[in-house]
């Protein structure tokens, strides 16, 4: 089942920065980011709804990661 409540958008610019990609994987407490094996980062669909809205990813990559509440009008 696809995520119902949360979407996470990662700016393409992040993918050029391997260190930042790695950091995203590390900061998220619910494993929403995973390394894709080529120094880039991918989001894990089945974990998206576990997002705690802790903002740690946004703090790690200000302006480049967006956490969208699909339930907000």
């Amino acid at each position: 089942m696809p995520a119902m409540f949360i979407r996470v958008d990662v700016d393409p610019a992040v993918q050029a920065n391997a260190a930042l990609c790695k950091q995203l994987v590390e900061v998220c407490p619910v494993d929403i980011f995973r390394p894709d094996g080529e120094g880039k980062v991918a989001t894990v669909e089945e974990n998206l709804d576990e997002c705690t809205l802790c903002d740690l990813c946004i703090q790690a990559a200000p302006g480049q990661v967006q956490v969208i509440k699909l339930y907000a009008t």
């Binding site: 119902m4 409540f5 619910v30 089945e46 709804d49 809205l53 509440k69 339930y71 907000a72 009008t73």
Partner: protein, 401 residues
Amino acid sequence: MRFYEYEAKQLLERHRVPLPKRKLVTDADGAAAAAFDLGGPVVLKSQVLSGGRMKAGGVKFAEGAGQAKQAAAEILKLTINGLTPVGVLVEEQRTIAQEYFAAVTYDGRAKRPVIIFSDMGGIDIEEVAEFHPEHLSRTHFSALHPFSDHIAKQAVAAVGVTGNDLTRLTSIVAALVRIFFDYDMTLAEINPIGRLDDGTIVALDAHMDMEAEARRTHAALLQQLGVPESDNRQARPPTPFEIAAAKVDAADTRGVAGNLTEFDGNLGLIIGAGGGSLTLFDAVRAAGGRPANYCEIGGNPSVAKAAALTKLICQQPKVKKIAVMMNVVSNTRVDIVARGVIKGCIEAGFDPAEKIAIFRIPGSWEEDGFQILKKYGVDYVDRSVSMHEAARRAVAKMGKR
């Protein structure tokens, strides 16, 4: 977790408490053979985790193998308080001159372990306490400082026992205290202890309860006794619904979403936590509702875990609607639970707006939670609606009974 009599007696034997000769059997032919081996008259006792065996007909006497076979067949067929016996304990029957009672437990009020001893064994100890207080002693002792046998002697002597009986009973009671501590028991009881016509003293029946949390510590012992890990030793055997809920809880270590007990009603409950669940379950019943289950959610379960429990409850054919209610939450998040229950409903193939009779969880992250509920059309209330009022509204939606 409660031990069967035959297991408790194995523990007593390890600590050299004298016991009658005995044999555990699981069928009538085995009982006949056991009676033959023991020779002479025997007593046959149903092995169930329930008191009141004698009254229920779970204890029978037999003169020889033939009678023993007949008695065992009857006992094995007999359920006591809904429990089926796991076997029959066949014991040599002895003539008892005097019965004693000994138990070790914690006294929550004194905050100490206590030895309760009486020279009026075999009967209800609460009755002895009420009508014959001089025949009952309560001896508190330290959990911190070393235990010494003289404390057991004190407990026995306090009801006026002296002579040979005193020394023999002292060593039995001291052994009981050691069993109590060594195996993390919450209760270790021998009732009755019998003085036989030849003056020997033996443990005739035993009841022991180990703290559930200590099972892992004593895994080796439990294995020796043949207690499988899946054997929960509750007052009644778990239902498939309860087993499935326990699996949901065990599959994900984040928070609690389980401790489910099945009831025969039609309103599924997703409630929490400990005290909140007790309060809400009462509230639903007080409003005339019939719960399909008790459960506990707390400590911030993951969305997936809350969803899995919700799905399981929704899938029960008897569940018409579910009510999602908690006390004002501090740590568990309203939005996370809201996501979980909505997801679980949908995964089970139901419309959350229809299936969820009410959602009443106020507290941390409630703004986000309420936004989610609104989007899916779920009827929700905030803390201005009490737990009891929320329960009443849920029950009202169930229609006529």
